[in-house]
């Protein structure tokens, strides 16, 4: 159980695909101007990542090594197309807002990377947990960035006007604002990690000092 929890946590923070591994950035910066878009994109990617990792992990012994990449792409593309069709049918507004970035999930490095480096070598359970961790790791960063950008850039949140137009900064709804907010997220997560490491280090040192003292 503990092993799965560590795997899951891995994607959330320590190896967060966006903040630490820094893969799959283009789509995430492009769609994060509105909370709904960030959430929709995050959910779509999590779904595709989960389904592909589980299926590829199930079939990993049946896929010959020399043609694994084309097989992975076929599987990923199939799930992406399913998401695309479902969104167009039942979530027209969201499909329109996300536009070309849904079909482009096929070439998102997060999915290809996790499938190649993780799912094709591990058991189904581990792959599923890894996919959930990575997917939710992507999702929370994406929604976080989009909340900040929507609030500062257009002054709205889930359709409500929070800031009146005089106080909004249009910079945040455009590409440079995306980079800026993203960089702030990276800096914050880095500071948080360093602090956690320092704490762990201090505890460890205290423990060794204590045991050394006991030995003497």
């Amino acid at each position: 159980m503990n092993k799965y929890w560590t795997l899951f946590k891995n994607g959330l923070m320590r190896e967060n695909p966006l903040l630490v591994l820094m893969i799959g950035l283009c789509s995430s910066l492009a769609v994060t101007t509105k909370f709904e878009n960030g959430l929709g994109m995050g959910l779509a990617l999590t779904f595709v990542l989960f389904m592909s990792e589980v299926l590829i992990s199930l079939l990993r012994k049946l896929i010959p090594d020399s043609i694994r990449i084309p097989v992975f792409i076929i599987i990923i593309a199939t799930f992406v197309t399913i998401v695309d069709l479902l969104m167009k049918a039942y979530m027209t507004e969201l499909a329109k807002a996300l536009g070309v970035f849904i079909p482009l999930i096929v070439v998102n490095c997060i999915i290809m990377g996790r499938v190649e480096s993780f799912a094709s070598k591990r058991t189904v359970g581990e792959a599923a947990v890894d996919a959930l961790g990575m997917g939710i790791g992507y999702l929370w960063v994406l929604t976080g960035i989009s909340i900040v950008r929507e609030l500062l850039g257009s002054g709205t949140f889930i359709g409500m006007t929070v800031l009146s137009e005089e106080y909004t900064i249009a910079f945040f709804s455009r590409a440079p604002g995306g980079f800026f907010v993203f960089a702030m997220f990276i800096a914050a997560s880095r500071a948080f990690r360093l602090m956690a490491e320092k704490k762990a280090c201090a505890v460890q040192m205290k423990n060794t000092l204590l045991t050394e003292g006991e030995q003497k």
Partner: protein, 185 residues
């Protein structure tokens, strides 16, 4: 050689399974997708031509001014008689715009609506705001949409303004031609 055929067959197997599952999903969703597109189109048509109760696509090809394409022409009907038309036209502005223009059979613009506009935010994007686009409502096709006289330009976006006017006047021409020819051209 044998290895190659084996790999090819495995790949073919994966592809066909993927194809079959996609065909099933597509079959399942195609109805809903079509309905959503139809609903969106109808809503768009209704916003520019509120008086009409039915729309039918007009047949034939329509000529447009240089740089403008007429995407579609719909005849607006009320109680079975044609009372005007709605034209969807795309053309270059500062970047590109697709506009729906409604025109009645007595040559009055009912309203215009931007389906897409990819100009600069804060400048050309202002064309889609009511302050600019509502200027066209109620204008007669005989006006020549002269800047300053009939239409106030968007400051800092003269190219967008001129592009939008070119698209609209071309659309109006096609719409009137369609009404004149009774829905076919």
């Amino acid at each position: 050689m044998k290895q190659m055929i084996k790999l090819g067959l495995i790949l073919a197997l994966f592809t066909s399974v993927a194809c079959v599952s996609l065909a099933l999903v597509s079959n399942f969703t195609s109805g809903a997708i079509e309905r959503a597109a139809q609903k969106e189109l109808n809503e768009g048509l209704r916003t520019v031509f509120a008086d009409a109760d039915a729309f039918s696509p007009a047949q034939g090809t329509f000529t447009a001014a240089a740089g403008v394409t007429i995407d579609a022409v719909y005849m607006a009907e009320k109680g079975g008689t044609v009372i005007g038309s709605v034209v969807q036209a795309t053309g270059s502005t500062y970047d590109k715009a697709t506009i729906l223009v409604g025109i009645t059979s007595n040559k009055t613009i009912t309203s215009i609506q931007f389906l897409s506009l990819t100009d600069t935010p804060g400048f050309g994007q202002k064309a889609a705001e009511p302050a600019f686009k509502d200027q066209f409502t109620g204008k007669s096709a005989d006006d020549n949409f002269a800047l300053g006289d009939d239409i106030d330009a968007i400051s800092g976006s003269t190219i967008t303004t001129k592009g939008v006017i070119a698209i609209i006047s071309s659309a109006v021409e096609s719409g009137l031609a369609a009404i004149h020819n009774g829905g076919s051209n």
